[in-house]
């Protein structure tokens, strides 16, 4: 099944697990996603093997980065009719608060889509959306159809 068909089926059923299962890294860290009207929220459930700071304990900063980057790519496939996983050009992340060993949520916003490049802003939080743990932005190359 190609990505467009997977996205179409997922939008119809509200079940995005088949789409996410196409990406082994997403399965590895445990990403899920849920649709709320036109919005989608990605979730990284607390998972022991994602810990990177044993003292707090907290999730590895690289995993939070990977989760945000992956969410942005999925977001482009889901809402911008991008037919396969878009290639990332650059990724910049600010760590604002500790990302505790808890469920983490991500929301994406398309800042600008040109013909060949898309700019996505990405926000991650745990306790409440008003207290982000990290913010990031990424550029992706949009694959030609």
């Amino acid at each position: 099944m190609n990505v467009r068909e997977l996205v179409k089926k997922a939008h119809e059923t509200g079940d995005y697990s088949d789409l996410i299962a196409e990406i082994p890294y997403a399965k590895k860290i445990g990403v899920t996603c849920e649709r709320f009207g036109d919005d989608v929220i990605f979730k990284l459930p607390a998972n022991k093997s994602n810990i990177g700071n044993p003292l707090l304990p907290a999730i590895h900063g690289g995993v939070i980065g990977g989760f945000m980057e992956l969410s942005a790519a999925l977001y482009l496939m889901m809402f911008q009719d991008v037919p396969k996983l878009p290639k990332i050009v650059d990724f910049s992340i600010d760590y604002l608060r500790a990302g505790y060993y808890q469920d983490t949520f991500v929301e994406c916003e398309l800042t600008r889509q040109g013909k060949r490049v898309a700019n996505v802003s990405i926000y991650a939080w745990q306790k409440t959306r008003g207290e982000p743990i990290t913010t990031a932005r990424a550029h992706f190359l949009i694959p030609e159809n």
Binding site: Y25, K27, I51, N53, H60, G62, E69, F91, Y95
Partner: protein, 158 residues
């Protein structure tokens, strides 16, 4: 290679569950704290099944860890230094079935902040797949529990 610092780096990595989970290991640390880590090729980390290339997230983890380890190995005493920010430029795709090396060094250590730079490469450090700059916050030794400090600096001598 600096034997003491390489040991310190490996003991630090051993404390990070996710790094153990994806098989990160220390390849080399020089006496001035320049750090090279090794990420073995791992099918669980693939981003695109068609190309079998590891996802950028795995490279982010490699570079965050390499930079953070370089910080630990560049400071005289052990302090916890969380990442403030990280920027990664993906210059070209990694090739499947080959390990990725993450090199990082500290190019400025100030009282509060450590500045790092580095690159990810497969066969040749002069032909990188990604470039990375980061900043790390120094929390000071008083915020670092003694038992953890001892474990990383001296290992388990019991």
């Amino acid at each position: 290679m600096d034997k003491e610092l390489t040991g310190r780096a490996q003991r630090f990595l051993d404390e990070l569950a996710h790094c153990m989970d994806i098989g990160l290991s220390v390849s080399n640390v020089t006496n001035d704290g320049k750090t090279t880590l090794l990420l073995p090729y791992n099918e669980e980390l693939i981003g695109n099944k068609d190309t079998r290339i590891m996802h950028g997230g795995a490279i982010t983890t490699l570079m965050d860890t390499a930079s953070g380890t370089s910080v630990i190995c560049s400071l005289d005493d052990f302090e916890i230094c969380p990442t403030l920010d990280l920027r990664i430029d993906y210059l070209k795709s990694a090739e499947p079935d080959k390990p990725v090396y993450g090199f990082a060094e500290c190019y400025r250590i100030s009282r509060n902040v450590v500045f790092t730079r580095g690159s990810a490469y497969q066969e040749d450090i002069n032909d990188p797949i990604a470039y990375c700059v980061g900043t790390f916050m120094r929390l000071g030794t008083e915020f670092t529990p003694d038992y953890f400090r001892t474990r990383v600096l001296e290992g388990n001598r019991s």
